[in-house]
Each structure stands twice: as structure tokens, then as C-alpha cells.
């Protein structure tokens, strides 16, 4: 395996609130390799977006990265100065946000915004920046890019704006693209277009992608590996094929079983009881145990991630011991 583009080690990001400390990201570790798309999945509030923002040190003021390392191509980003960080954001690491409606400045043309992103990191004559911006739009499949480049964002549809944002994210040829729910606000036929663009960009440029999503269908269609987050921690990580065929964490299994299927008729959905825990008052031991049908007394001790089959790690005492999840009657 080639060297990782990004290695996140025991990252912890806490928020200090008047009610107590929210441990939004609580010991998260993973790596992303060149040309690889890693999916980070979980439900709202599991800490997946805070993880993405922590990598770029864009955590809101009430949050603090309390420990860990974020190593990008050998440099620990958490030790850099703010000026050094600014040279990295948008250059070697880009971030594409969920909402294409609010991520562009409505008062500036698309071209202005694309050229600004280029010129922030490269010394180029203006005419060349203009040409590069047009080319970037063309690569994203925007018709008549030379004409559209002088349009303002409101003249673009949601899918078109997301293309512009991805074009902007790719301008400086980043080695890592972080995409936070890039298709959640889009319709499915447009989502299919955008996912195809991301997949092609990653393959052609050998670019690492960290894809944050709640949609397991999106994960299955474009990711190579997947990490599942629950209550601030990664609870399971494996290749996409392995995770969907052999989910070892009860939470992962519950998520997969609670999904309605477009290709099968189902009478009932297997729903998990309860809801994710309050992040101020996280249960002692396994954070999922109060909702877990497999829970045993041992689960009151916090489980660590361990490799069960090779390349497949899981944070669950029961499946670590048994190598699988035994079906529970009823």
C-alpha cells in the first residue's frame, strides 16, 4: 500500500457548552490513500462533520481540538501556524460543503470566485487564471463555460452550483478532497451526475477523497472503504464490499437493516430502538449498549477497535470474541 495522503490519529474535538462538555469527536483515527475514496458515515450528531472540519482546523469557536494528530503528507496540521494553514486550505486540501446554495458568494460572478481560488495559491497572469477557470467548468460538464463564467450564482441550478464548487475544489489539484454531504441537497438524477464526476476526478488525479455522508447507498456506489461513526467514535471500518456483506458492529447491522430497499419488497423495517445518546452524558462502556440486542455485562467496559477478519476493525466485545454476531431469537 502506498503512503497515506492523510493520517488522522486519536483526534479529539470537544465543545464547551453551558451544560457541559460535548465530546463530538472522541478518539478518531483513520487513513486515506492516493486515489482512494473513504466514506465516513453516521447519523446526525455522530461527529462526522466535526471530524472533517477538525482536519482543516475550521472548528467553530466554541469547539477545541484537544488532542490528536492530523498528518497530511508527513506534516502534522495541528502544529502549523494559521498562516501556514491558510496556504494548505484550498490548495493541498479542499473542502466541498453540503449546501451549494450558500457556499457561493451571490454578489460575485462564478468566474471571479474561481479565479480568486486560483490566485490565492498560485502566481498566474489574470488571463491564464481566466482560461483555467473556464477549463475547470468545462471538465465539470457545464455547457458553454466561456459564457457562463460571467454569470452570478443565482443563474445556476443547485446541481450546477455543486459542479462549480467541485470545480473550485479541484482547481489547485489538491491531494485530498473532503466532501461533506456533497449530494444531500440534490435530486437523485443530479446526484448520479455529481457522484460520477467525483469518482472520475479521484481516479484520474489519484486524489484521495474523504466523503462524509449519511447515505449508505452513496457509500456503496462510490467508496472503496468505509468507516462508521457513532457517538463521536468510529465503531467499524472495512472495505465497502466487506462491510456491507459482513457487518460486525450491531449498529452498522441495524443501520443496514432499517433501510427500505428500492429493489425489494419489504413488509416491515427492522428498526433500532431508541436514539443516539446525549453527547454531554455519554453512557459508560460501549456507547451503543443501551440500544443493542447483543449487549452483555462485558459491554460496561469501553471496547477498543480491534481487527477481526484482516482489514476489518470493529469496536464491539461480542463480535471480537465470537468473530461474528450471533442471531438473537425474536
Amino acid at each position: 500500500m502506498s503512503d497515506a495522503v492523510l493520517r488522522v490519529d486519536d483526534l479529539r474535538t470537544y465543545f464547551l457548552t453551558e451544560y457541559g462538555t460535548v465530546r463530538a469527536v472522541d478518539g478518531v483515527s483513520f487513513t486515506v490513500h492516493p486515489g482512494e475514496i473513504l466514506g465516513l458515515v453516521g447519523e446526525s450528531g455522530c461527529g462526522k462533520s466535526v471530524t472533517a472540519r477538525s482536519i482543516l482546523r475550521l472548528v467553530p469557536p466554541s469547539g477545541r481540538i484537544v488532542s490528536g494528530r492530523v498528518v497530511l503528507q508527513g506534516r502534522n496540521l495541528l502544529e502549523l501556524s494559521e498562516a501556514e494553514m491558510r496556504r494548505i486550505r484550498g490548495a493541498s486540501v479542499s473542502l466541498v460543503f453540503q449546501n451549494p446554495m450558500t457556499s457561493l458568494n451571490p454578489a460575485l460572478t462564478i468566474g471571479w470566485q474561481l479565479e480568486e481560488a486560483l490566485l490565492a495559491h498560485q502566481r498566474l497572469p489574470g488571463s491564464m487564471a481566466h482560461a483555467r477557470a473556464i477549463e475547470a467548468l468545462r471538465e465539470m460538464g457545464i455547457p458553454e463555460p466561456a459564457r457562463r463564467i460571467d454569470d452570478y450564482p443565482h443563474r445556476f441550478s443547485g446541481g450546477m452550483r455543486q459542479r462549480v464548487l467541485i470545480a473550485m475544489g479541484l482547481l489547485n489539484e489538491p491531494s485530498l478532497l473532503i466532501a461533506d454531504e456533497p449530494t444531500t441537497a440534490l435530486d437523485v438524477t443530479i446526484q448520479a451526475q455529481i457522484l460520477e464526476l467525483l469518482r472520475a476526478a479521484s481516479r484520474e488525479r489519484r486524489m484521495a477523497v474523504l466523503l462524509i455522508t449519511h447515505d449508505l447507498g452513496v457509500v456503496a456506489s462510490i467508496c472503496h472503504r468505509v468507516a462508521v461513526m457513532y457517538a463521536g467514535q468510529i465503531v467499524e471500518e472495512a472495505s465497502v464490499g466487506e462491510l456491507f456483506a459482513n457487518p460486525l458492529h450491531p449498529y452498522t447491522r441495524g443501520l443496514l437493516r432499517s433501510l427500505p430497499s428500492v429493489s425489494q419488497d419489504r413488509e416491515r423495517l427492522a428498526s433500532m430502538p431508541g436514539a443516539p445518546p446525549d453527547m454531554i452524558d455519554v453512557p459508560i462502556g460501549c456507547r451503543f449498549r443501551q440500544r443493542c440486542v447483543f449487549a452483555e455485562p462485558v459491554c460496561e467496559t469501553p471496547p477498543e477497535l480491534a481487527e477481526v477478519p484482516p482489514g476489518h476493525t470493529v469496536r464491539c466485545w461480542v463480535s471480537q470474541r465470537d468473530g461474528r454476531l450471533e442471531e438473537v431469537a425474536g
Binding site: M160, A192, L216, L256, S261, V262, R268
Partner: protein
Amino acid sequence: MGVAPKAADSISATGGKRPLLQLRGVTKRFTLGGGLLRPMGVVHALNGVSLDVLAGETLGIVGESGCGKSTLGRIAVGLYRPTTGTVRMDGRDPAARDSTLRHQLQMIFQDPAGSLSPRMRIVAIVAEPLRARGAIGAHEARRRVVELLEMVGLHPAMADRFPHELSGGQQQRVGIARALAGDPHLIVADEPVSSLDVSQQAQVLNLLKDLQERLGLTYLFISHDLSVVRFMSTRIAVMYLGKVVELGPAREFYERPLHPYAIALRSAVPIPDPRLESARSRIILKGDVPSPYALPSGCLFRTRCPIAQEVCARVEPSLTEHAPGHWAACHFVGAFDSTLLSSSASGPSVTDAAPQPRRAEES
């Protein structure tokens, strides 16, 4: 413009079940803007919809943003009046001031937090439809509310809480309890689970199915999520730019979609199973949905359709029956083979897509 009346009449003949709600040639236009300096814009939200909702069924309405599915739902419950066309529930008009009809038609909204008043306790929210139906004592109202809360799986103690104290899933259960308080015959559910997380979504969908069985409810279930609609629905209507382009039994539709748009929509849904995902090719439509301010001539889908011909720009196809109860509005049904869905040919190109041999993969 509009569905041919001949076709529309025969829609009601299918199934043998009693139509509870009938829409005939319904159009809805919204005029926007229009000032001293600006010309008025007309949004063509619905462009001739004829549908029957049969008693006891769940009719799923799918389509992408702006296709008119929410407008259709609001017209069905009488919140909007159609510009032209008629809506009848048991022979009466839902938009008329007829309180007995009004409570038989209830709605569940997408945003559970936004559809519950933040200043009212749950008991008052759920009791409101009860009061609207006539004088009811506080004690009796409370007894009914507790009954309704239990029916939707909420603890009676929730009655004295405010909406912000509840999770999204619990708020949506309150929305359902409020809809049930009217003793409805038809419930229009407009994206009822799209703001919920997967685990909450499964709980609410199961609840809606249970309630339908227990209370004999009829649902008009609106969603952009084809997996959710498949789980819920007996029949499906696919909408595009304010028209129904395909209508059929749920399983028929998912296994043999007829309209090119329905085929593409079906193929665009990512399946949470990497083996199926790597085995299939996706039909990727070019471009975006045209603006509802300026509709294309002829077939509304032709600007993105991979098999559009010259005739599609001239003649608007009407909804016609291709298999028992399975209707589509396309001049070339069958030309765009739905077996493409299961071919393993890679590449997103649609223009050079040729029919591929069917592979057994999605079963």
C-alpha cells in the same frame, strides 16, 4: 395542455376498488412578481393531472424537486384550489368550506419541528383538531390525546411537553397523532421522513404502516426517495414538471418502469449493496429540469430524454395503458429498454446506449 380526458376516464375503471379521491384535469398556476417594472412570471406547477386515490391504498407520488408533487398534495387536502380541473372526495370539493370533509382529509408535513407551534404543549397541539370538530371538555380532550399519543407510540407524559423537548422522530409522531385526531379517511403525507435519520425513519415508516392496517386509512404518500416509496406504496405515480408520466402498481413499476424518465430515476438511486452497485450501469441524464416558467413544447421530458425524436417536440404524449393498470405517457414506450438497468456496461454515456442483455442481479 392536459391529459386526454379519454385516458383519464379509463383510469378510474382499473383496480375495482372504490376511488376515495378523484382528480380530473387538475392544473395549478402560480403568478409571481409582476410590478411596475417587472413582467409577471407564471409558474406552471401542475399541468393536467388526473388521478384516483383508491380506498385503503397507498398511492406513492415520486418525482424530483419542482415536479409539483407537494402542490398536488395540497390540492388533494383542499389547501390550494386548482386553477382548472376538479377535485372530488366522495363527490364533494375539499377546498369548499365543509368542515366534515375537512377533518376527513389530514396532512402530515415534512418538517416536524416547523409544523408544530413552539408555544403550545403537545396536548394542546393534538387536541386542536378535536376542538375544531365541536365542543369538547378539557377532560375528554385530554383522554383522547393520551389515547392518540399511545397509538403513535409516545408516552402519555409527553402530553405536557413542548415540541422542542422532543426528538425529530417524536415530533413527527406528534404530527401523526394530530392528523389522526380528525378521524381522517385520507392522509396526505408530504415527505414525512425525509428530515429524520435512518433509525428514526424506520420507526416512523413502520408506524404509518401499522396505523393504516389498524384504522383502514388511505395514504397519498409524497416522497423523493424511491426506496421509501416502494416500502410504503401499493401504487406509484411518477411526476415530471407538473404531469404524471407514469402510473402503475408498485412492484410492476419498480421491476418494469416504462417511461424513460422513470427508468432513469429508478437507475439513479444508489443501492446500499456494493455487489449490486458494481454490477449495474447507471443511466445518467444530461442537464437539468427545464424551468416551470417556460415549459418545452410537446413532451415535457424531451429536452433530457435519451430517445427523443422529432415528434416529441410537436405532440404531447397522453397517459395510456401498456399493461393492466400500468400507464405511461411516452410515444416510444419499450424503445428505451429498462433492461439497461441491469446491464454491466460501464460508463455514464446515455446517447450511445443500446439495449443490453438482461442480467439477473436485482432480485
